[in-house]
Symmetry: C2
Subunit: 230 residues, 2 copies
């Protein structure tokens, strides 16, 4: 019966994270090369077992701290729990995956066995981690279009061309800077800083500098349809 005091055989439980960052105009994910079997030489998601007295969120933050500076993870959210009994070939283990986002421009110091990989060209992955990465990307893509989650992929301040490149990399298709600006301004997601920035070595009008107005998730377009009566 539910929630009764049963001293059953319990599965191990680990917390994993798909940490995404836009690097070199591609959406990349942080993977860790396994030194031992199973799946020696394949790439897996950072994470590890849940500690006693720990929440899943604390656990993934603790494990990530070994890979990246956690302060650089601008957004973290739970993605789902994978439970297929044979997902781990040696023992019974569930994994709860999180999506973490690191702003562009930061280059976290990562261990030697850890590397960023373009999501479009994943190497051989261990366990079910390949599927988890793709599920994480889908979550990210959805939220980019109805929330302000872009704040976690963009640097503190940016020009619209830079932001367009970030959205293009994450969504996987061309985005127009003109319209992106209007969408995000209309919703109050971004604002101008007043600054300007010039870039091109061959000239060009200096770009306005923008910032996201908040650095926590807000659903900016909660009801696409069937919205409540006014």
């Amino acid at each position: 019966m539910a929630e009764s005091t049963s001293a059953h055989t319990a599965p191990a439980h680990s917390a994993l994270a798909t940490v995404f960052q836009v690097r070199e105009n591609e959406l990349q994910v942080l993977l860790w090369e396994r030194a031992r079997d199973p799946f020696q030489g394949d790439w897996s998601l950072p994470g590890g077992s849940l500690g006693v007295g720990e929440t899943l969120e604390a656990s993934i933050l603790r494990h990530l701290a070994a890979k990246v500076d956690v302060r650089e993870v601008a957004h973290l959210e739970q993605l789902g729990t994978w439970s297929h009994p044979s997902r781990h070939p040696e023992h019974w283990e569930l994994a709860t995956a999180y999506v973490g986002l690191v702003p562009l421009g930061i280059d976290p110091r990562v261990p030697a066995d850890t590397r960023w990989h373009p999501v479009d060209a994943l190497p051989a992955t261990a366990f079910d981690h390949g599927a988890i990465v793709l599920a994480g990307r889908e979550r990210l893509r959805g939220k980019l279009s109805y929330s302000n989650v872009g704040f976690a992929l963009a640097p503190k301040t940016f020009t619209l061309a830079e932001l367009r490149d970030i959205y293009t990399a994450a969504l996987g298709y061309d985005v127009s800077a003109t319209n992106l600006k209007r969408v995000l301004l209309r919703r109050g997601a971004i604002e101008t800083t007043g600054g300007r920035r010039t870039h091109g070595p061959a000239g060009g009008r200096p770009a306005e500098v923008f910032r996201f107005r908040t650095s926590h998730l807000e659903v900016t377009d909660p009801f696409a349809v069937l919205r409540p009566p006014t």
Copy 2:
């Protein structure tokens, strides 16, 4: 390290479900009255421990079978995993919650200690189950507006007035049958059956009978904004 072979202390794991149904024009959830401590007399979600060799989804289906006829659950999806270490006062237990939906009109035979409760007037709930119910309702409300998930709350065939009442109950605000029809038809979510149905004892034009075109989840409005170029 991630996914290594550690014989650690592992938490117990249970699968829970928020089973929703529209009854008496209200969104209701199936709860089970606890006969024993902890939380004796409070109401909790159906579910129970994960069995050896079982996926979470198989587990929740197995546990639900003790409460309702599982074939009556028209849609089931994972909601999230709750992990606060003190969520269970006696032992360490994680819970992965699912959202299940039962179509209107079915009255499943449920055990004596199990009862439907309006989500707007929950009784005292055990553990963190009250919060889980509310999270489940939010998930449902979101999906109603950008997917065809209504198929799982509606009977096989229905008039638009009936469907409007279902949406109104689930969303918690008035919905217009006129516009609901056009939204769902435009998206290809529903279709006419050709049948007609008369109801009012005081007359009235017979209503057209509709059905959902599919009985599995489809995202009908995938990109509210930032849609890919044509």
